[in-house]
Subunit: 262 residues, 2 copies
Amino acid sequence: MNEVIELLMERKSIRAYEEREIPQEIRERILESAIRAPTAGNMVLYSILEVEDQGIKDRLVETCDNQPMIARAPLVLIFLADFRKWMDYFEVCDVRVINEMKGIEGYKPGAGDFMLCVSDALIAAQNAVVAAESMGVGSCYIGDIMENYEIHRELFDLPDYTFPVGLLCFGYPTESQLRRPLTTRFPRESVVFKDRYRRLDRKEFHRMYSEMDERVFKGKYLEGCNNIGQHYYKRKVTSDFMAEMNRSVATAIKLWCGEPQY
Amino acid sequence: MNEVIELLMERKSIRAYEEREIPQEIRERILESAIRAPTAGNMVLYSILEVEDQGIKDRLVETCDNQPMIARAPLVLIFLADFRKWMDYFEVCDVRVINEMKGIEGYKPGAGDFMLCVSDALIAAQNAVVAAESMGVGSCYIGDIMENYEIHRELFDLPDYTFPVGLLCFGYPTESQLRRPLTTRFPRESVVFKDRYRRLDRKEFHRMYSEMDERVFKGKYLEGCNNIGQHYYKRKVTSDFMAEMNRSVATAIKLWCGEPQY
């Protein structure tokens, strides 16, 4: 196993940080590694917000489902799906000649553009995670940045055709975070399928969740729950934050794609 | 610069492969590294299809905008956003008791679930890319897997609440691919903003695209185009494949989220 694989296999999310700044040089390496990530058609369909303003960090704690670590992270990056930049550039480049050539009225970004931008943003984010890890800087994704779209639009001056798809907190791990064991993952046969998708049966599900059950839950589920499925269903899937995320993302997609043409 | 950063900074997409299998052990390391990637709430909201059937690879060449390298890649992985597995598991776990407890009728996945699944899938995909690279295996993303949703559903037996968001081709790079210089990237100041989003002005756009113009285009744009904006607008944005991707993704999101509730 080489050093890179070792890093990928041992990386865990870090949610508590030492009170210690991340030197500018290391911040820059993280950002440069993100920017070198593969990007669709080399179009770089994303932007990164480097959040330094403590007031904004404090506000994010509230808008991202009350996660105080955001306020304490020495480096906070928001990865934006961004087609606005190209739309503005097309204006600068006067693409009306192409519209005339093709006999079209203009271009309105759609769900495909949205997803290409989202892909670029997340691929770059994971490069930032790996780069940070290699320099001893821990990280944690906050998907809750997809909630409260309207508030984040205002907070970050986000124009149409931008969408904050991921937030990453970075910092040096505390001792106790370093000692925390790796979380379990599902066995490969429940994640990887040959050639075609295959729905799992009851027995396979039992195997899939057994290690998590033994190592993490040990029979202790949320009140009123008797298994992992009920636990997650109660705690996450039917939670208020999930309802908010569903609403927020649907609103953002609608604004991006216009009235659904389908 | 450590070895990991060096790898991230020097990685480029590889589109032509030596005729040489990837040993099973290396395939497994790639998959394991993907599966260790961070995942929302440790829910592993994705699946990976390992495509080995040559007939399916050949078909993908056509359905992914005619890219013959898919047929020639010794390893093809499709990353699926997947909430189906959890929905099936909830059924096995009999979550009706939670519905009664919460006074709800049941749960219908929404746009938030879709995006969490998409995020998990892409983050895992990038881990696979980095892992492969560290073992001398090149890779290339094919976003076109998001086109032709209906065809891919049938081809891969995809049930509701799954969506193929990324395809990765892997293989040992040919000599000429190894010699190919790194593509340019936009300068950091046009990708990273402090605290708030900022739209770029004409002068900034000029700086942003100048290296790409000098090194890549050298004044040679698509017929009828006079600058990079017009070139990309004609070649990519207003292309048939982009129209198809917009249609396909919109269809998939509609099926996943139901009639928009917004």
